[in-house]
Amino acid sequence: MKDLQHITTFLDGVSRYFAHVSKDRKSLELGTPYLVRNHEQLGLDLTGAIAISGKTKGFVFFSSSRALLKYLLLSLGESEFSDQYMSDIVGEVANTISGNVRKTLGPEFHISTPKVISGHLDNDSLKPERLSYVLPLKWRGNTAQLIVSLDSIDARE
């Protein structure tokens, strides 16, 4: 049940973020979350990784296609789409969604500053002994994923 609460909280956070930047809820399509063992290769073009510490340990990733990040930058008033801007926005989305869950999960849910990963996620972040929830989404037709990989996630739940 604890994991279900975490996932619901993150789903709400993703919905709120994209509703906020696009001023409507229709442009976001949320897929069905699924559980993976960390043997699979995960990660789209660019990923913002937030390390979680405190009572719960692990990582939260916002992984995105470059196309979605370009639309996000446009919606925030930017007209430059260099790697610097793409990396900045993918980290900021990961930071915002992770930070917002503290309203529900409390101040013991500590978040790091974002690290940006290009391509597949590395073993330092996606530890093989952990499971991860993948929340697929499309925003304005462009693909992204929120990946929640926390110690508390248990395949038996």
Partner: protein, 122 residues
């Protein structure tokens, strides 16, 4: 009036700057708390927008020093950390208001009005 924007995100610094440029005669930017304190010593800002989660020096530690370096500055925390405990801690150390990310230009303008009022600078 002088504004100091403190945030590790370039996109957020740009967004705040665009939203508030017409209101302030000078706008300075800092990527972390350490840079913010260096800038504040030179410029003595009237208003500071302060992120909390930043590399090198985070926002809470920066606020603790900022209130002695620029005691007249109004400080608005602009952070993704949305829990009450974080907001109360920031206010305890000297912030005048709190705005949660993501925010609209209108949210930011309203929060700025409020902190300037609270800090007695209007």
């Amino acid at each position: 009036m002088k504004l100091l924007i403190v945030d590790d995100s370039l996109v957020i610094r740009n967004k705040i700057s665009r939203s508030l440029l017409s209101r302030f005669a000078k706008v300075e930017r800092a990527e972390n708390g350490r840079q913010a304190l260096e800038s504040a010593k030179k410029e003595l800002p009237d208003l500071v927008t302060m992120d909390l989660t930043m590399p090198e020096m985070g926002g809470v530690e920066c606020i603790r020093h900022m209130v002695t370096i620029a005691p007249k500055a109004a400080i608005l925390v602009v952070s993704a950390l949305s829990d009450k405990h974080t907001a109360i801690t920031a206010l305890k150390y000297g912030a005048n208001g709190f705005l949660c990310k993501p925010f609209t230009e209108s949210d930011l303008q309203s929060a700025i009005e409020q902190v300037l009022k609270v800090a007695g600078q209007r």
